[in-house]
Subunit: 222 residues, 2 copies
């Protein structure tokens, strides 16, 4: 069994999260590390999508992963099997990570030798959207079984994200999910949102998503 | 188009939510109104499950529904089509309802003539579990596509709930979902949890869930 390091992160003491987030972002920019903040509901397939992404990109850049969870370390073990450096962050019940909590994780992960650090945020469409983590880019996953009406009900997360992955397209035939509508609703919230329909299970569409992520990392790291 | 009343609920001023929740619960008990707090992730099928439940129970008891959402009123319109009295609560970005917020909703709904009031909480597995709303019983929905590992990752909500509905069993063939494991994990969190596998889409299992709910309401209202 791999030995996953578990970090119990503490609630931040900073009053001004936006300022802390900008500081974290500047330091990462200077160090040429791209931080990706990956958000979604529970069960949308963050971990599987991450595994498919790591398989495709781990040999071309140096990547580290922070798995944030309220409890358990099942996802960190799954990610570690890809051979990528992984730590588990326990939030102690907290429903999101802010910039201070993310920075604790980054210090434990060690970013000096990383081109790309990925934060898998707590599964929640509401609270994580309210807290800037200091990430270069925010990405969310919405899965087909969750329904195409989610941009209407959870507006903020669609607004703050740079890309939307629509996962589990392999089960489209079994759900009343309207792809045109979800694209329309998501672009109402954020006209610049890049949208990638994928199946993390079959691999369909994953290359297009990885192409986008790769170009973002290269642009950031200069 | 039905005319749904939309209530903008305000953040509570009460420091001690548990005390407020117990007060709300006592008053409802005295008035013979059973309050059900229904929680789940976004997209697990709360609204569809509620529609199937209302169809079966609305002619045998007096029911009212409060639809809580951050934004939008799409669900309230769907529920109102069943003919049951429905109001929409807007949380103004808040990720959960506490007892004070629930009480604002109950006053707007009017509970004097109700046997059963149902609160469809904000779609979120984390925060709603932390706040007692004053409900007689808490119920959560987990849907098959979300995966059987959720009791490991979101322990609190499984602990505070009295019943777990496992929805979307019609798509079991298309997902790696282990029913025995989810029951085992859920009972690790809460040995007394009543579990109902259902398909709100096909109607399978819905009668057993309604039998449980009916018996709870009858016991509470005495």
């Amino acid at each position: 069994m791999d030995n996953i390091r578990i970090i119990e992160i503490k609630e931040s003491v900073f009053a001004d999260n936006d300022r802390e987030a900008n500081r974290v972002r500047s330091e990462l920019k200077e160090d040429r590390t791209f931080l990706l903040n990956l958000m979604s509901s529970p069960g949308s397939g963050k971990t599987t999508t991450l595994c498919r992404t790591l398989e495709r990109m781990k040999d071309e850049m140096r990547i580290g992963v922070m798995e944030a969870d309220i409890d358990s370390d099942v996802d960190a073990h799954t990610i570690a099997e890809t051979g990528v450096r992984t730590i588990q962050l326990h939030t102690g019940g907290m429903c999101h990570l802010d910039a201070g909590m993310t920075e604790q994780g980054l210090k434990e992960l060690g970013t000096d030798d990383l081109d790309l650090a990925i934060l898998e945020n707590v599964g929640n469409l509401v609270c994580p959207a309210e807290f800037d983590t200091g990430a270069a880019k925010n990405v969310m996953i919405l899965s087909v079984p969750e329904g195409h009406d989610k941009p209407l009900k959870y507006p903020l997360i669609f607004t703050v994200c740079d890309a939307l992955i629509i996962n589990k397209i392999d089960v489209l035939p079994y759900f009343d999910f309207d792809m045109d509508k979800v694209v329309e609703y998501a672009h109402m919230r954020n006209p610049n949102l890049a949208i990638f329909p994928i199946s993390a299970k079959t691999g369909e569409g994953v290359d297009a998503w990885c192409d986008w992520l790769r170009s973002q990392v290269i642009e950031w790291n200069g």
